[in-house]
């Protein structure tokens, strides 16, 4: 179409003029683009690069870790960090030597940090308030140095639950425990600032356009109860003092849900001063270390035997010889008995009886039940470095494995596996996944995620669980190995263990090094607490019934009070309401 000679008069001419003008403006944009992108491109690109390097990251406030009642176990407090603007510092030597005296850092080292043309350099981070005041008192120019607020991890209860909490590394990330496992939720989002020069050539480190504030991390609500945790910590302290063992673990679970109410480990460490401890101190042995449990394992042997229907509690076994021989290996009892019922085998913890039950049960059935209880696999707890323990696959079992496993040898369990498995017995036969974190909350207090009880599987029938509980209650009565765990009239179901440790040099069982343990739950007929005590190489006394069982009592008694479970007094009358038929019926206890 011949546009220039368009016959439609002045409007068409004016349209042409306007649109040509507009297109010319676009051409102008194109030239401008060429100038900015191609001609000045490399120089601008370099500037952009330098800008990206001038970015200073600001740490967000890390989320708090709270106990089940919201009490603070780990918090972040705001602290001041000192930075310098090297490009503004005329005399780095003078500034360095002034700061050196206050900060206690060698002057030469500070001078190196300040002697450059950069616009930003950290001088010393996370200073205590006293040193902040002293630096401010030096009268240094605000153009040369300044403070930025950062955060610092603080554990107000010091060593309380330190192995659960873990701690924070120097560069801010969680290194152990919950701090590490829930790093993503806790850490928040880093802020940024860009150090730039303003019109007068000053470097400025604030302003709004070149500053993005950090975003606080989420808070975690644990299942841990600070009060019960405190009781367990105190009890482990007295065990450490009395028996000077290499280590100890105390666990309290709610068997109905799998919630950890307390988890304490020795050796201890203070997360506020991690550098004063060795790595071995902060290792959470409750999840990382497997041990041979010894007789505690008879609880699960009994569960398997009852569930498979190969014994009844009243069935008797002849243990009068005091030993039993399997393929040339003799297994002995500590005491000599005549005939024992199955219930008494558990109560007195007879090795001979246990081996006989084990042989009757057979390797395949025993192995299957142990696996169902969760041995040989991780519980999936939210702590790092969990060990799966040792449960050899059935095909590599030798003739000695079955009798050994029947008395808790040749199997390795972690304390949390043991606690979780025993809790399954307390919970009517259903294995629950143990857990530590019940809720993730935003910094504003809004619930973001909730974690509840998780059933893993039914391991034994309710009927078996009830029978077993009755047998285990016998173990804490007069004449039982665990009688020192007894709690007056509140029935305790439990099992002791005294396991010989394997001497790593000889590869044989030691006659001096033992692991004493006790695992039990209370009240036996309506369990609220499951407590596991493991003491590694106690000195003086070695038996689980002597070392660990009393600790159970000293933990369970005050813990039940904290939970509001009333102690049953002798002769007290309890009204049981179980439905219309039994309504109002009085039962003498």
């Amino acid at each position: 179409m011949p546009l220039a000679t368009n016959p439609r008069g002045p409007q068409a001419r004016r349209i042409l003029v306007v649109m040509t003008g507009l297109v010319l403006l676009y051409v102008l944009v194109a030239f401008r683009l060429f100038s900015v992108m191609v001609l000045s491109g490399p120089e601008l690109a370099k500037k952009a690069e330098r800008q990206h390097q001038r970015v200073v990251l600001l740490e967000p406030r890390r989320g708090s870790i709270l106990d089940r009642a919201g009490r603070e176990l780990a918090v972040s407090v705001e602290v001041e960090s000192l930075y310098g603007v090297p490009s503004e510092i005329e005399n780095p030597h003078r500034v360095a030597s002034l700061l050196s005296r206050v900060l206690g850092v060698p002057s030469a080292q500070l001078e190196r940090r300040l002697d450059s043309s950069r616009h930003f350099a950290w001088i010393e981070r996370k200073l205590d308030p006293e040193r902040v005041e002293r630096v401010k008192g030096l009268g240094l120019s605000q153009r040369e140095v300044g403070f930025l607020t950062e955060s610092r991890r603080f554990y107000p209860k010091k060593r309380l639950a330190s192995h659960v909490l873990g701690f924070q590394g120097l560069d801010g990330q969680g290194l152990e425990g919950i701090e590490r496992r829930h790093e993503e939720a806790l850490k928040g989002e880093k802020g940024l600032l860009v150090a730039e020069k303003d019109a007068l050539g000053r470097t400025i480190v604030s302003g709004d356009r070149n500053f993005r504030p950090p975003i606080a991390g989420h808070d975690l609500l644990l299942t841990i109860d600070e009060g019960i945790q405190h009781i367990v910590e105190r009890e482990l302290d007295s065990l450490m003092a009395e028996y000077r063992p290499r280590g100890a673990v105390g666990i309290v679970l709610d068997p109905r849900t799998g919630e950890f109410l307390a988890l304490a480990v020795r050796p201890e460490f203070n997360p506020n001063a991690v550098s004063e401890h060795r790595p071995g101190d902060w290792r959470n042995r409750a999840v990382t270390d497997a041990f041979e449990p010894g007789s505690t394992m008879k609880m699960f042997l009994a569960a398997a035997a009852l569930e498979e229907g190969i014994v009844t509690p009243e069935q008797t076994f002849d243990v009068s010889e005091g030993f039993v021989e399997v393929s040339g290996r003799k297994i002995h009892d500590v005491h000599r008995y005549g005939r024992l019922t199955f219930a008494e085998v558990v109560k007195k913890s007879s090795n001979v009886g246990a081996v006989k039950v084990g042989l009757k049960l057979g390797a395949e059935r025993y192995y299957r039940r142990l696996k169902a209880f969760g041995f040989g696999e991780k519980t999936g707890i939210d702590l790092s470095g969990e060990s799966a323990g040792i449960l050899h696959p059935l095909k590599s079992w030798t003739v000695h494995t079955l009798p050994s496993a029947a008395i808790g040898q040749e199997v390795g369990v972690t304390p949390i596996q043991l606690a979780a498995a025993a809790a399954a017995v307390a919970n009517g036969g259903v294995l629950m996944r143990p857990y530590l974190v019940s809720e993730i909350r935003s910094a504003g207090g809004e619930t973001l995620r909730r974690f509840g009880p998780t059933e893993v599987r039914r391991v034994i029938s309710e009927e078996t669980a009830r029978k077993l509980t009755r047998i285990l209650s016998g173990a804490t009565e007069e004449g039982g190995t665990g009688h020192k765990a007894a709690l007056g009239d509140l029935k305790v179901a439990g099992k002791t263990g005294t396991a010989q440790k394997v001497n790593p040099q000889t590869g044989r069982y030691s006659t001096t090094a033992y692991v004493s343990s006790f695992v039990g739950f209370v009240p036996a007929d309506d369990p609220r607490l499951l407590v596991l005590i493991v003491v590694d190489e106690p000195r003086g006394k070695i038996y689980g019934g002597e070392v660990a069982a009393p600790a159970f009592r000293r933990i369970a008694e005050p813990a039940l009070t904290l939970l509001g479970v009333p102690p049953a007094r002798p002769g007290s009358v309890v009204t049981v309401a179980m439905g219309p038929k039994n309504a109002g019926e009085s039962v003498k206890r």
Partner: protein, 362 residues
């Protein structure tokens, strides 16, 4: 679709696709952090494109006489909406401006509608009066200055200075095309100058923007920040760009990377070559729009086509001019490309009308 201007249609389609890609690239990281979904803005934009294309298809089928009849009622509705948006509680306030009407999850900017309504009104009225009467000051020219004055005042009240200036430019140009005398236009512009001066000097941030425009490097941390960051993004792009999704400026430095400054990101990621291609596509849109206008035999469709082409063309130039530093900073989105619903809807309706007009003699 038969007989419509395929070149115009394809150019707009390519711009829409490029826009969706760049909106995702610009906002993905930010959206993931803020909303936990990197496609947050992309999905919203996709929805608006779908709504816009449907509206376009409808607009294409509406006949010329119908548009002529709609002109005045639409202007009335628009003025009501512009008043409504100023009422606290009705208009949503964002960053100190009342520019949006909210209906559930959707927000709408009446000032975008105003562009369209004013062009439609002016085209209808100019066509009715004819060149002779328009040349007359009292009966021809003056009434337009009154209408324009009322609308611009309402928009400046929001405040949305950028859109007001954009509308003023489009309207004065359209009056020029319609036959207004250059003497009238220039004297009106001279009258407007002190008003603009007063508005600029009355708002601190506008002075800042102006100073920044003169020399953004003087204070790159505060007011010049956006400008400088835009330059750095473009410079970082070089000839061929950093590659799609590779732009660094959007992560923190370039504010409004998915809206007003999306062209800087296009430059950074697709380079000079890519930016020039996008610019050329807009050039094609103006060329085709002008062609459609020139082919019209009746004055109303001719002026309407020219006006709609101007709406798109002027807004594009203002946005690009700001990004490359030819104009002081204004908050105007890039048609078809920037994130934002109202502008997308209105611009696609404009394209729909142009496509409808482009059909072989109806």
């Amino acid at each position: 679709m038969k007989g419509v201007d395929k070149v115009l249609l394809i150019s707009v389609a390519v711009l829409l696709v490029a826009g969706l890609g760049m909106v995702y690239s610009a906002s993905g990281v930010m959206a993931l952090k803020k909303y936990g979904d990197s496609f947050y803005f992309f999905k919203k934009q996709l929805l608006w494109v779908a709504i816009g294309l449907s509206a376009m298809a409808v607009a294409m089928r509406i006949s010329v006489p119908t548009w002529n009849r709609l002109a005045l009622p639409l202007l009335g509705v628009t003025s009501l909406l512009l008043v409504a948006v100023l009422i606290p509680g009705v208009g949503a306030e964002v960053n100190g401006s009342r520019r949006w009407l909210r209906a559930g999850p959707l927000t709408f900017q009446p000032s975008e509608l105003a562009k369209f309504a004013l062009v439609l009104y002016a085209a209808a009225s100019l066509a009715r009066k004819g060149p002779e009467r328009i040349a007359d000051f009292v009966y021809g020219f003056f009434p337009y200055t009154l209408v324009l004055g009322v609308f611009l005042s309402l928009i400046v009240f929001q405040p949305d200075f950028g859109t007001a200036v954009g509308i003023a430019i489009v309207m004065l140009t359209l009056l020029f095309i319609g036959g207004a005398r250059v003497l009238h236009l220039s004297s009106f512009s001279v009258f407007l100058l002190p008003v603009i001066y007063k508005l600029v000097m009355g708002a601190g941030y506008r002075i800042e923007r102006l100073k920044t425009f003169v020399n953004p490097w003087k204070d790159p941390t505060a007011s010049g920040f956006q400008m400088v960051q835009s330059y750095l993004a473009l410079g970082g792009g070089g000839l061929f760009g950093a590659g799609l999704g590779e732009g660094k400026q959007k992560l923190f430095f370039l504010p409004e990377a998915h809206t007003d400054f999306i062209f800087a990101l296009i430059g950074e990621e697709m380079g000079f070559v890519g930016a020039l291609a996008v610019l050329a596509l807009f050039g094609v849109v103006i060329w085709r729009g002008s062609l459609i206008a020139l082919r019209m035999i009746d004055p109303f469709p001719r002026l309407l086509a020219a006006g709609l082409t101007l709406v798109i063309g002027v807004q594009t130039f203002v946005n690009l001019g700001v990004v490359v530093g030819l104009l002081p900073t204004k908050g105007l989105p890039l048609p078809f490309v920037s994130f934002g619903g109202s502008a997308m809807l209105i611009n696609l309706i404009a394209v729909g009308i142009l496509l409808g007009l482009s059909r072989k003699p109806a």
